[in-house]
Amino acid sequence: MGATPRTPNDSMGEAGVLDRDPALLPVALDQTTHDAEEAHWTPAKVAIWGGISLLGGLSWVMLAVVRGETVNAIWFVFAAVCTYLIGYRFYSNYIQKHLLKPDDRRATPAEYKADGKDYAATDRRVLFGHHFAAIAGAGPLVGPVLAAQMGYLPGTIWIIVGVVLAGAVQDYLVLFFSMRRGGRSLGQMARDELGKVGGTAALVATMAIMVIIVAILALVVVNALAASPWGVFSVSMTIPIALFMGCYLRFFRPGKVSEISIIGFVLLLAAIIGGGMISSTEWGAAFFHVDPVPLAIGIIVYGFVAAILPVWLLLAPRDYLSTFMKIGTIGMLAIAIIVVRPEISAPAFSEFTANGGPVVSGSLFPFLFVTIACGALSGFHALIASGTTPKLIEKERQTRFIGYGGMLMESFVAIMALVAALSIDRGIYFAMNSSPALTGGTVEGAVAFVNSLGLTGVNLTPDMLTQTAKDVGEATIVSRTGGAPTLSVGLAHIMQQVAGGSGMMAFWYHFAIMFEALFILTAVDAGTRVARFMLQDSLGNVFPKFKNTSWRAGAWLTTGIMVLAWGAVLMMGVTDPLGGINTLFPLFGIANQLLAAIALAVCMAIVAKRGMFKYLWIVAMPLAFAAVVTISASFLKIFSTIPAVGYFAQNRAFSEALAAGETSFGTAKTVAAMEAVVRNTMVQGVLSILFVVLAIIVMVTAIQATWRSWKSRDFGTSEDPAVGSQMFAPSGFLPTAAEKELGASWDAQARLEKSARSARSATRNRS
């Protein structure tokens, strides 16, 4: 056990603390052992990595260079998996070795703060699943579907390259830095590193971003369920199912989580099948047919009630259900894509890369990078990586597997969503994802609109739309924007080839809708709660009474404020004469990427404070990219003179039309609709300004902090003091040979101790 600190700044005065009695079993392998294992290239290892590189390279050639009529989906899978493996093995290892330098001799918060509840060392493989379930949601499923408009290649490159160089790096860094600080949250770290101004801006930005994200996720659900009796029935059944599960766990069999999840899952399947029967009856179709506006009001009321009910009743059981569904369905989809290997006929680059199209407005740069946020780079993960996970991690070196590796998994989910969206006919894709303002919401209108786009190889017929709608058990699939219905059609299309045939398409479609709605409703509920606590905490600085989170009236008031905030944005999206998703989704992506920029800015200040300027580029590169993308996207949204792109340009166009006394303009057919556009674009524009200004403040304070560290050379750390670890665990998914050996010694010792203990208690009992 080397007593010499490996970084001068890391272990100031800690060397003694981390020294361990040589008579005891070591708690960590020496860095030289790790280095030696890594540098030892056996022929088998060379062959495996050579094979991975060749297969990855070949897949990229198939995707990017070879231009056939179609491209097989399996190449997406190979290109992604091989690139992830190489990125994980080499790049994340480089970051570990040079930038983060984890030290397994140090105890993690799970060890030195252990309380058996919030801080509890968790097996790395279990924690990986846990962390993945917390970061993966509807985001990586929706963004890639919308970005499929630009062709398959831009989205694929951004998802795969973006995650390796940006998204996974952010998750890894935030997880590591939070772990070194006892599991402190991103907001607290921002205050520590950036001072009061930067910290406050980060907090306000986080709160505003939370509101916008919840609103747009809720909009996705409304769009998926509006005028779909089947969907409305089965998704609303999740509420009584969750209530039942909650009571079962509370009163009947506490702690039997898997058991009740299986029961809940069976009930969920029954709800999906029952939805099909009920929607085919006349009264069912009439009763569960809900228009977008009442549906949105329903979700707002639901959001409020769910956020003030006790966690055990609704949130916790639905969370179990959602975790169960998430891991199961994603695994199932991965297997199905590999088995079915659908052919994809979309072009590599579509006609809409330069100027945008009906699904997403604006050019590829920067709008591709904000449309696909989750899956490539997601700021929201920084909140999870500085939340529960750092309090559960066993050993420092495991942050690489969990932080970096977990994000690679999410990126794979995004690739699968992209494949599923691309596997459906392009004509149907555009009919589903163009706003009702363009298609008129009718089959004839959609056919006329899509065929007028002049897409090569696309010849949409009314029959294709009605047949698909019939197959998936919906009245219509025209203008079902928001990504979820498209993904569900794609998933149903793939799954029916594995199980059930075309007769099962309707089941799979509603299964997928249910799967997405379940995550989103959990995210809405949990997001409202988190935002409420943030608001209470901030208000508490002025009115101390709000700090008391068990004060009922305060809790209800702050919950109400947060629900009204996202509810207003949701209503705006639902009633938007321009379509809703296409105007609001960029705001979602921009918000998420700005949060990523904030998280990376905090990481940069931390790295600079540690004095590691040589490797600052590892953080600075994704930060610069996120900053350029989001700031330019925001500027376009604010200053662009093209009405389809710029919020204020749109606002001006409609205001002028109103002033000129016109009674219809563009897609707005009435004066009231025109006034709504003027109002919505103003709100959206102001929100864009707010986000970008807050993010710029955070980034500027981070650059200042970095510059101060550089100038003063006064390095330090805001880490918790080092505590010596008393345990050992391997770092990756599979233990290395040396780790296995050491682990075996620990196991043997544990067995000895156990038998000694039982012998002792046996003597005690005898006496």
């Binding site: 699943g129 846990h130 970061i135 509807a138 985001g139 766990l249 939340g387």
Partner: protein, 71 residues
């Protein structure tokens, strides 16, 4: 190990993994923690929560300490 043995081990490992990810092992972890902390203490050990108390306490703590879910 024969095929049946391997299958059994695989099923056991899978069950262990799913229980872990779902959080079902929380009470066992709490008990283990409690025992290891107080194993060598002489005299009185602080009271340990029963399974029912533990799960109530767990969801009640989430009420005041919510965790976000990702998008």
């Amino acid at each position: 190990m024969n095929t049946v043995g391997l299958l059994k081990k695989g099923a056991r490992d899978l069950a262990w993994f799913i229980k872990g990810v779902m959080g079902e092992d929380a009470y066992d972890k709490y008990r283990a923690h409690h025992e290891s902390r107080h194993a060598c203490d002489a005299g009185e050990t602080p009271p340990v929560m029963t399974e029912r108390e533990f799960w109530r306490d767990q969801t009640d703590r989430q009420d005041t300490n919510p965790q976000g879910r990702c998008c």
